[in-house]
Symmetry: C2
DNA sequence: ATTAGCACTCGATACAAATGAGTGCTAACA
DNA sequence: TGTTAGCACTCATTTGTATCGAGTGCTAAT
């Protein structure tokens, strides 16, 4: 069976109509909806073909057709002509200066949620491969040590250590100086056992403190895999009846709330060069079981210094891919200019 | 109309039965359910009285009775005999050492959500009246200054400042030393204009840096009113049919996700000595419009140094107040011992 | 004061009929 | 040969109707 241009047009019409109404779409609708000027009967024949090809299905006899995951995949891969709307309003948002990254991310999530009517999630930039930029030891009280680590991208992390015994101010100063010099510019991978042993030797009787400090540094760099994730518009899910049945809504919202599983989804492609930019997961293509009836569109953003994070949009399979992709691209562009300027 | 003991017993029975089943409860049920040995007819008479007093209502003719907000209020205020169950399992949770406050709070939220089957929220300790404990200035690169502020309760806050011009290391050291000595132990309220002017004078040409640093300190102390709030078990709401109607579920979950309004609810009583401990808001008694069909139980916890936060449990009006209060008290006790020991 | 009995109310449930959107197929047509 | 009108058929949904039963209020008897 060949997929000629007319079939493509009909498939496109079905997808677009279904995405607006959420109802299975019948041959008569297509006949009137499009500029093909074909009777419903002809459309029916074509539809039968499309169904045979696995691009659309009937939920039950005597119902219209809805696209299959495969149908959407075709649409997304081949047919998506990007619109250049939505640009204007994006330009305006965030006029107020945002100095905190966290707030910025929250704002973006909220913006996307209200403008797309889908649920939105965004992961904070991860510093997995980032370098130590600065390290500071300060004594607090008699037996506590404040370790401040700054990694590339100016992300600051603090840890307060209990020291087993008192160290002299001079020792602390020296140790700090030494550690700073040694670790500066290194990634986690580069802080190997040899280096650690050497540091401990130099520290002499303070080797135990060095160990604790290094732990803190490791913590700061790896973030213990706990990338903060912000979500918004989870309740948009309720706008799509096909997701409100049974407990699917409950599952989706639960997943969005707990964030645990989202990390997996959002950080999956971070290292992968090929998977940069925008990815679309339709139905079962995404790894989160609770979202098997959804589609997820993700986009990787990058601040300077290789700091990367991901934005994700969760909606029904009939989501307006076109619009979502456009709006995401624009937000990305916005982010780029924001961080280039700075 | 007088509220004699028998009426109270019947009211109690109605509330308890309704809280288990979620269905309006009829006279016959009560007649068998209780140890009063009264016929359903007698119960009916009493019920009519209770209804007249505004403590229970019929959702419609030919249905059983359900408690009104007033009825619950009476129950909560007078009748709640605290059970001492649930203690055992609480003791066990959190054996794994939790070093981060954030993680601890998340864990508590999750624990409460799974054990009560209601939605849970918890606000991080607020430092509104806390004192500066430690302050550290460090140069980063040529023109950046890292300000690290530790306030009571060991909450650390960092800010990276751009300096307009380069300061010598010695100047930075001196300034840091001086600021630390001056501000140590002060609350925000105590850092007044006189003090600021004096600090600036001493700093001489670096007065502008002092100003920026003080801003950062103020930021750290006040947290800009943005208390982090963690939620868990929002989807528990779906377990209660009476909250799943219309878009109430959507509203409640939306409120829980956005957190904005929760802050209001959770921080409202923080200063108030009288309102310490456990508070119960039934129906409209709480200030959040979206939760007018819910009850909210809040408890204020206190770490050392006057750091206070609030835990909140959100459920249907027929929630098991008794259980919730007991479990909350136990968690509080747990927290107390954790932070006293440390 | 309590209770048995009874008529009444009204939401819930079940079932049948009507509705109508949509299909597949066939025969006629350009 | 591709297109279309027409028609019989399917089946989820809607509508209407009868029944059921839990629960009430009232009255009269105990």
């Amino acid at each position: 069976m060949e997929l000629d241009e007319r079939k493509v047009k009909i498939l496109k019409a079905i997808i677009q109509n279904y995405q607006e109404t959420g109802e299975p779409v019948g041959s008569r609708t297509i006949s009137k909806y499009t500029d093909l000027n074909l009777s419903s009967a002809t459309i029916r024949n074509e539809m039968a073909d499309l169904e045979e090809m696995g691009l659309i299905v009937q939920p039950h006899t005597s119902a219209g057709r809805i696209p299959t995951d495969q149908g959407y995949r075709l649409y997304v891969d081949q047919l998506m002509a990007e619109k250049d709307r939505e640009v204007a309003q994006i330009k305006d948002f965030m006029v107020q200066r945002v100095n905190r990254l966290e707030q910025l991310l929250r704002q973006i999530a909220r913006f996307l949620a209200t403008n797309t009517n889908y649920a939105t999630m965004i992961s904070a930039p991860s510093v997995s491969n980032s370098k130590v930029k600065f390290l500071q030891l300060s004594r607090m009280g008699t037996d506590k040590l404040l370790v401040t680590v700054v990694v590339e991208g100016n992300i600051v992390k603090n840890t307060i250590l209990d020291m087993d015994r008192t160290m002299s101010d001079e020792d602390i100063l020296n140790l700090g100086f030494h550690l700073n010099n040694t670790l500066n510019g290194l990634t986690m991978a580069q802080i190997n056992l040899g280096l650690i042993t050497k540091l401990k030797e130099v520290a002499g009787s303070n080797a135990d403190v060095v160990e604790k400090v290094l732990e803190a540094v490791a913590d700061a760099i790896s973030m213990e895999g706990e990338v903060p994730i912000y979500t918004s518009g989870a309740t948009n899910i309720f706008k799509y009846p096909e997701l409100t049945t049974d407990d699917t809504a409950s599952q989706i919202i639960g997943t969005l709330e707990e964030k645990q599983q989202l990390a997996q989804l959002l950080t999956a492609n971070l290292g992968d060069e090929d998977k940069q930019g925008i990815q679309i997961y339709i139905g079962n293509e995404n790894s989160v079981q609770a979202m098997k009836d959804c589609s997820v569109v993700t986009a990787t953003y990058e601040l300077k210094d290789g700091l990367q994070g991901t934005i994700g949009i969760v909606g029904p399979k009939r989501m307006d891919y076109d619009k979502v992709v456009t709006i995401l691209k624009n937000v990305m562009a916005q982010l780029d200019t924001m961080f280039d300027k700075k």
